[in-house]
Subunit: 468 residues, 2 copies
């Protein structure tokens, strides 16, 4: 394998820089090998490349001072949240200073009447929902991992609730960010909507740390619904399952979550959790609303499902029973990994127009079935978004190469269907050639923006696209 | 009054340029005084400044060729849709070529299963909804005027349905645009969501023609709801009306429209339409859903309104009666103008967090009541967005100056409440100093982006902000 161009080997910062950074942070600048290694690795198949140092700022102002020091000395800056990104977003390909925002975990304000709150970037979504529960409020975006809000904004994350509540693009009202020149920008006020100038909020959402370091986020919240029901239904055909979703959405049923697990995924769950589910494409639903509205939603979807070849439509509005119904879905990732003890997972993601979803999954399944690698499919089908989990032998370079080939064919298939190479994981290091395929000259426009805002190419360099 | 710096006086294009443009357009290049005047004026209080010529392209490719010619000769380019913008967005402050997209009015594709469609930029929202009706679909964004979809995207328009269906920011899946260097960019695929690179779609939405000329738009659609109910309720106090809205939204009632007309506006409507409504702050509601869900929504909101000092809650689910109930709201603009025959209207707009809306409107009402100028207030209250209509004597410079002072105080009040200087009209020429007040260093970031994408400052120059 080629030598990585970056700092896979220790390359300490100049002592003068360290002492400048220490002036800001004191003991909150870490240089130890263990901490650097941890911050240069991610939950995916990318090689670990540690940063030269890790900073733990406590405020936007401290972060700005760090960025100013790095700008003066031309040191790369990599923001870090929970480290749960999946496309290598935190790997320090050219060394530099990792800014770990996890100690910026203060909930700054909750405005219940406005259904919004402002949090520091290091607050995690579970921490936030814990905090909000007593006020009858919740933050709906749920990517699975207990990610930080800042990291979720930076990668434009979404997850199971997006079909009803949208993605981070929709959930964020305003951001505070430190720009590459060290200036602090607040991108918007707290109004629900604005036509005042360029949408800097949306420009930073999904920019993966390449344009600004997000330090505070103002989020839209929702009232915890009066009633919640869950349902599970197995289908004879994938087409029947997807058509159920399409019909429900066209009828305007405001389903909160609609998740698909394919027959391979259900098989994995059965052996992992000692269940006896039918090994068929299965939909998991969650409905939010008033009691009457939820009952009506369940009834409408149940009728659609029966018409389209669904089996027994098992549902419940009781909390414990609901958890039991969804347990299989929540275990899908670990169930997948358990197919091969000692395996590592590589989760990829694409998103297509929902009319093409059944075709895309069926063609993908057929392609995946040509390999011995276990490959359960899980999807946020209301959005046309699905994941393949490659369950890999970590010692096998052949398997890694085969997964890469299958992944390439998957992405090419999604693009050919007018879909995107990533619905929610982002580009990072892993999908740069596909970004170019997807956006063509749009990538040049992105590069012009990057160069204008970060002329030194110091903010998370090498991510999303290379700068020539 | 100072001489305008721009082309208020004819400044014909060089004959060589005209013949290059004619090669692309033939007779669709217009140089007549009448057409230039019409394209240099807007539905607002800004001085007319005509472009030097008006082009009527029929395709994205033609538009790109026009832009390439203009780039070579350093000629400003101003895109034009229906001319319904309110902050002077189409005024040709430095002359140049106006590109009128109204002949690009083809509905390119409707994907019913995906609930989306692609249209050329000159399609109007009424034309689109007419076309979609037979398929049981509709496009919800309704800014009042029969604007073009391209113009609505360019100003990040919204309107009465935004509380439920969002703004153009949410409604647009993808754009095709001609960039200042003449390149054609499609900003996204047709997938519902994507994390692939910078959000060029949202960057162009609200950029008012300064970064790209939008030529095609892919829009999210919605199924026409099974049932629609409308309701009207007058309140003793504005606070009671606003608290009704806040409570309904907190409870998660998915109201489709919630409009406020204040007592001055109701007075105007009474004399204009020979009605006898109580001259009190009045809410107009529209509910969408299944019949059962709509009935439940009406009942919940009725109870909230009664608790909070609402009077009789008049509602109907019959089409004719619904139209009658909403007629007053729809006539608000012309009713306002009718307060003074021969007057011109200046409609301004701000948006604040909804918890501050009652304060903001009450303080504004008190301030407006110090003047003789009629000033009805109309608001999209679910979003915290409201408009003041200054009903002005067109001959009076004093009144124009007084309206400007009142408008300045209104915007300052909204900003002090963490609101925005414009919820949906945009910046154009009218609110540039307020953009700076609102965004501070964010405006420098916007200028860096503008310079990177349009180094010659040829795309709608002078709009949103000045380029130093």
């Amino acid at each position: 394998m080629d030598q990585p161009q970056g700092s896979a080997f220790a390359r300490p910062l100049a002592p003068a820089v360290v002492s400048e950074l220490r002036e800001v942070l004191g003991g909150r600048l870490q240089l130890s090998e263990a901490i650097r290694q941890q911050h240069g690795s991610c939950e995916a198949h990318f090689e670990t490349m540690p940063p030269d140092a890790v900073a733990f700022p406590h405020s936007t102002e401290e972060t700005a001072r760090l960025v100013q020091i790095c700008a003066r000395h031309a040191i790369p800056v990599i923001p870090y949240g929970a480290g749960s990104s999946l496309e290598g977003q935190v790997v320090a390909t050219t060394g530099g200073l990792c800014i770990d925002l996890s100690e910026m975990n203060r909930i700054v304000a909750v405005h219940a009447a406005d259904l919004d709150c402002t949090v520091q970037a290091g607050v995690t979504r579970e921490q936030l929902n814990e905090y909000l529960r007593d006020q009858g409020l919740f933050f709906p975006i749920d990517p699975g991992a207990n990610a930080t809000i800042g990291g979720m904004a930076a990668t434009r994350a979404s997850g199971t609730n997006a079909v009803r509540y949208g993605t981070m693009r929709d959930a964020v009202l305003s951001l505070t960010a430190v720009m590459p020149d060290g200036r602090i920008v607040r991108t918007a006020r707290r109004a629900r909507k604005s036509s005042a100038g360029y949408d800097l909020t949306r420009l930073l959402i999904g920019s993966e740390g390449t344009l600004g370091i997000i330090t505070e986020v103002t989020l839209r919240l929702h009232g915890i619904p009066d009633a919640i029901s869950s349902a599970v239904c197995a289908f004879d055909t994938l087409q029947g399952a997807v058509d159920t979703v399409i019909t429900a959405i066209q009828l305007g049923v405001p389903v909160a979550r609609i998740e698909l697990v394919d027959e391979v995924g259900i098989g994995a769950i059965n052996s992992y959790a000692k269940l006896d589910l039918e090994e068929k494409p299965t939909l998991f639903f969650e409905f939010h609303g008033t009691k009457a509205s939820v009952d009506e939603q369940v009834e409408i979807v149940r009728e659609i499902a029966i018409d389209l070849g669904g089996g027994e439509f098992v549902w419940s509005n009781l909390s414990e029973e609901r958890s039991r119904l969804w347990k299989a879905r929540h275990q899908a990732y670990y169930a997948g990994l358990s197919l091969r003890p000692g395996s590592t997972g590589w989760a990829t993601d694409v998103c297509v127009p929902i009319s093409r979803l059944a075709d895309c999954i069926l063609e993908t399944r057929a392609d995946l079935d040509t390999t011995q690698i276990p490959t359960p499919i899980v999807g946020h089908v209301g959005d046309g978004n699905f994941h393949v989990l490659f369950v890999l032998d970590p010692a096998s370079e052949e398997e890694a190469a085969e997964a890469a080939r299958l992944n390439d064919r998957l992405v090419a298939r999604a693009l050919a269907m007018d879909g995107t190479c990533t619905g929610e994981h982002g580009i990072g290091l892993g999908k740069q050639q596909w970004l170019i395929e997807e956006h063509g000259p749009g990538v040049d426009i992105m590069r012009l923006i990057k160069r204008a805002l970060d002329p030194g190419n110091l903010f998370n360099p090498g991510k999303i696209f290379a700068m020539p």
